[in-house]
Subunit: 202 residues, 2 copies
Amino acid sequence: MLMNEVKMPVQKRSIERLEKVIQTTIDLLETRALAECNIQEISQISGVPRNHIYQYFPTIDHLFSLIVNRYFQKLQSYLTHNAQIYKTWSVLDIIQDALSNASAFYNQNKPASMLILGGPVNIEGFSLQEAVIEEISKEFVKIFTQKENPLTLKKTEDITIMIELIFSLMKHSFYRYGYITEELQQEALLVCEAYLEKKAYI
Amino acid sequence: MLMNEVKMPVQKRSIERLEKVIQTTIDLLETRALAECNIQEISQISGVPRNHIYQYFPTIDHLFSLIVNRYFQKLQSYLTHNAQIYKTWSVLDIIQDALSNASAFYNQNKPASMLILGGPVNIEGFSLQEAVIEEISKEFVKIFTQKENPLTLKKTEDITIMIELIFSLMKHSFYRYGYITEELQQEALLVCEAYLEKKAYI
């Protein structure tokens, strides 16, 4: 994966410069398409020399990968953060809440929507996306099985499948409407309900 | 879309050379990863000069896009071809048959699996994928509404959503197992059944 090829600096000054590069890229993506972003311009705007950027990000895809990874970590932290509250909730209420948080996050972060929902930037982006869907699934499995009224899973992959289904509808909504509509959030919830009922989980 | 940027030749000899380039690429992808394919090598193996290839495909992604487009046309033609037979079938039997044909197609064509299920090669690949999901959905809408016992659709987008759900599980299976397993085909069918029941279509 591209992410593994990114060597992060340890020196304070280097870290600060790198963060400036990352923030400049995110700012640029607020108003531009992915194809309209290049390292040369990021270097000009951020004031960080190109050679310095290339040292960490051999290509702009490496830079995008790092940003995507951070977004995923943020999405995951929502879940971990709410794990305690969710203990007394029903499975469907948890899904609805997480779905609505994730949708709000994407809708408020155009760069996140473009990089993640707009299709992986490259083949490594796809692996990253799939790997993170598995990570998020693990988080949900933990939440569902550690509830006061726990869900007994026949197969943890069932939850991964559910997350894949949700994710595909978020992508569909972004492709067709440019954001995750209320209607498609409802549809994703309905799909989850139908699936979990069919598997006799709820 | 990249596909629109590909200018196809009209002269017989040029067409033959281009087809040789396309076939060479497909053959290469049988044994290689996408990242291991480049125009220089395709030129060497096919005997078609590099300049000639670049004339039609400015980048290898243009070449991949054309191949993906052909695969999608083939998948779509399966549906059109069976439309007459499907007239007397149930909605679920049609989905199962189409799902099983598509899975067999992907499992027998490693290049198709890599290029389509392995994640779009690039951002244009994603748009192509979404555009084709909409095309395939239209085909299904036609089949379902022109059956002897026709389905009355409240919204044609419901079928697009169903195809998105199927597609996401095919991709998941390819990512996790390297092919579309029998089990995940069953799971995709179950998801369709659950969804269509929930929407009161069946």
